[in-house]
């Protein structure tokens, strides 16, 4: 862990504030993300997680604060801008088109072309080959590259979306609640994928409100509450209970948990 913190962060968000009219969604949030780490962003609904990652991925411009990407101050004009810089977001739902084949999905918006008689055609051969290879690396055995995404499980879809982002050169991978709608086994698959991606030296920002999912793969944990950071903790320095309490905002949760038998 210490070796990681010695080199420079790939992305640094400093005192980010974001106001929507009279609503203060973010009130000074600072987060650093290092290459090869899985940085978990935790928080209850309405804590500002979504606003924060949308600022990171160029959807929103911060009202106040600075963003440093690879040490340089950055101001993204849009998601496309951030994507070109190497910041990829995998959304919970809006990642894949079920009616289309895995290979067509994988190269959607980045189709490889091969010229024949001067006309650029979709290079299906190359696309199919790459898709099959990348899926095998992630441990998904496709029937064929023409298999529709709709036939994959939710976890496999997330994995396809993640490996697509990695294949197209993501340096920072933002995962917006990738496990929230998944079953136990599928969640395990996605977490394993996150682990593989991190080992390739890619910075992963993992948004979740499930403490156990965060602890399974996270290197560092930042908790957001009501638009503010409650601090960043290293792996091993914090217990699941402490994380849970921070997310929910303390006392009321203790009382609630008592009445529920400590299962939340």
């Amino acid at each position: 862990m210490n070796s990681r913190t010695t080199h420079a962060p790939i992305i640094e968000m400093k005192d980010i504030e974001k106001h929507f009219g009279s609503v203060i969604a973010l009130a000074g949030v600072s987060v650093e993300v290092y290459p090869g780490e899985c940085h978990c962003l935790l928080g209850d609904n309405g804590a500002g997680k979504s606003t924060f990652i949308k600022t990171m991925s160029g959807v929103h411009k911060p009202t106040k604060g600075e963003i440093f990407f690879e040490g340089q101050p950055m101001s993204f004009d849009g998601p496309r801008d951030a994507m070109n810089a190497g910041i990829a977001t995998v959304h919970q739902h809006l990642a894949m088109i079920p009616l289309m084949s895995v290979s067509r999905n994988f190269f959607m918006g980045n189709e490889p072309v091969k010229k024949r008689m001067g006309i650029p055609f979709f290079d299906h051969e190359y696309a199919d080959q790459v898709t099959m290879d990348e899926m095998r690396k992630m441990g998904i055995n496709l029937r064929g590259p023409d298999q529709a995404v709709g036939t994959l499980s939710g976890g496999e879809r997330q994995t396809v979306a993640i490996s697509r982002a990695v294949h197209f050169g993501a340096k920072v991978l933002i995962l917006d609640e990738p496990t929230s709608a998944l079953g136990v086994r599928q969640t395990a698959n996605v977490l394993a994928t996150i682990d593989k991606v991190r080992k390739q030296g890619i910075a992963v920002v993992f948004i979740t409100h499930n403490v156990r999912h965060a602890l399974a793969v996270g290197d560092r944990f930042t908790v957001l509450n009501r638009g503010q950071t409650l601090g960043t903790a290293q792996r091993g320095q914090i217990t699941p209970e402490e994380l849970q309490d921070m997310m929910a905002g303390g006392q009321e949760m203790v009382a609630l948990e008592g009445s529920l038998g400590g299962t939340v």
């Binding site: 959304h91 009616l99 709709g150 036939t151």
Partner: protein
């Protein structure tokens, strides 16, 4: 990298290997089955009626080709997630504009055709822009244009010529190079030769005695084939084709992946208008006149052909070849019932039955392919 050394995971034991059946499971399957069924039916019931001699084949081929031309445009637009209900009115409007330009204003026919195509593409783009900008369903926007264009198609000739049919286009188009590209015929030599050696019949009396009963392939059919091939290649073999699928499958996901969804949709509205105008130009050149009621209900016929061909009404899935087969089924049934001597009103009953059967089969096939539930 340890990833590359990973063994291939074992095949999922819950996935049944369908083997040869997999090759059959394709979007066009419904259309293929329907085509075989329809031809089988008419070979049995109408073989002696002349439906399958040269004249008969040309008869249903021309009708099918008409459906195909508009079905290609409607198909690509539907896969891109939109509808165009103004196709029929666009056919009437384009035909009427060609007539007004060439007959009333006396322009050369090629110029009338070029300007009409430009107008049609502009109207198609306008349809698209309104849909994109307002976010209204294309169903409503193009329904408005169904009335607007039809209204102009009736109003303009009435005001200018005091009638709703403008004739004299054939005379105006005599010797016009672009007119011939829509109203002419090809392979006349081959058909004369086939007539000479007796493969196809020849006229036995009258002024055309000795000439073959079918003396060439109308440009209408050539246009249909060219458009089907063009549409199929664009859809399945180019990156733009991938964008068409993506735009109709899930516009938001496509945008997130960097697909220019708006541009794709506007271009598809323009292409649909283009196809309608090809239809109109061929029709005007063939009849030598333009009528205010031309193209009535053609939008629904195009959509029916596309749906028989396996496209999903809500977009993101379909096949141009399927749509072409849908158009063929449509044309063969419409003309075949006439050859078989069936009361012509029963055409609608037949059409309804085929539509229902094809859609049920297509839905079943699509679920097998896409895993929808």
């Amino acid at each position: 990298m340890s990833e590359t050394a990973q063994p291939t995971p074992a095949p999922d034991e819950r996935v049944k290997d369908l083997g040869w059946r997999r090759a059959l499971i394709r979007p066009e399957l419904g259309g293929i089955v329907g085509t075989i069924a329809v031809f089988f039916f008419f070979l049995l019931t109408a073989y002696d009626s002349g439906m399958f001699n040269a004249q008969g084949i040309m008869n249903w081929s021309v009708v099918s080709a008409q459906f195909m031309i508009i079905a290609v445009g409607a198909c690509l637009l539907m896969i891109a997630g939109e509808f165009d209900l103004s196709v029929g009115s666009m056919i009437g409007f384009s035909g009427m504009m060609i007539a007004i330009f060439s007959v009333t204003l006396g322009w050369p026919v090629w110029m009338a055709i070029v300007v009409t195509f430009a107008m049609a593409l502009a109207i198609g783009a306008l349809n698209g822009f309104i849909v994109i900008r307002t976010g209204l369903p294309s169903f409503i926007v193009t329904l408005a244009f169904l009335f607007i264009l039809r209204g102009f198609t009736i109003y303009l000739p009435q005001t200018i010529e005091r009638k709703t049919i403008i004739g004299g286009i054939r005379e105006a188009a005599e010797g016009d190079w672009l007119g011939a590209a829509f109203g002419g015929k090809v392979l006349q030599g081959a058909f004369h030769w086939m007539g000479d050696i007796g493969i196809i019949g020849v006229f036995e009396r009258g002024t055309r005695a000795g000439e073959p009963v079918v003396d060439g392939i109308p440009m209408l059919i050539v246009w249909a084939i060219v458009l089907v091939i063009f549409g199929h290649i664009v859809l399945t073999k180019t990156r733009f084709g991938n964008w068409i699928f993506a735009a109709g499958g899930d516009a938001e996901a496509a945008r997130n992946s960097g697909v220019p969804v708006n541009r794709v949709k506007v271009l598809m509205f323009m292409f649909t208008a283009f196809c309608a105008t090809v239809f109109a130009t061929c029709q005007v050149m063939e009849f030598g006149s333009a009528g205010a009621d031309r193209g009535l209900l053609k939008e629904f016929e195009a959509i029916i052909a596309v749906v028989i061909g396996g496209a999903l009404l809500t977009g993101g899935y379909g096949s141009v070849l399927g749509a072409a087969l849908g158009a063929l089924i449509f044309g063969v049934v419409q003309q075949g019932l006439f050859f078989a001597g069936v009361e012509s009103s029963l055409f609608r009953v037949f059409l309804g039955v085929i539509l229902l059967g094809a859609v049920i089969l297509n839905t079943y096939i699509r679920r097998m392919i896409t895993g929808e539930r």
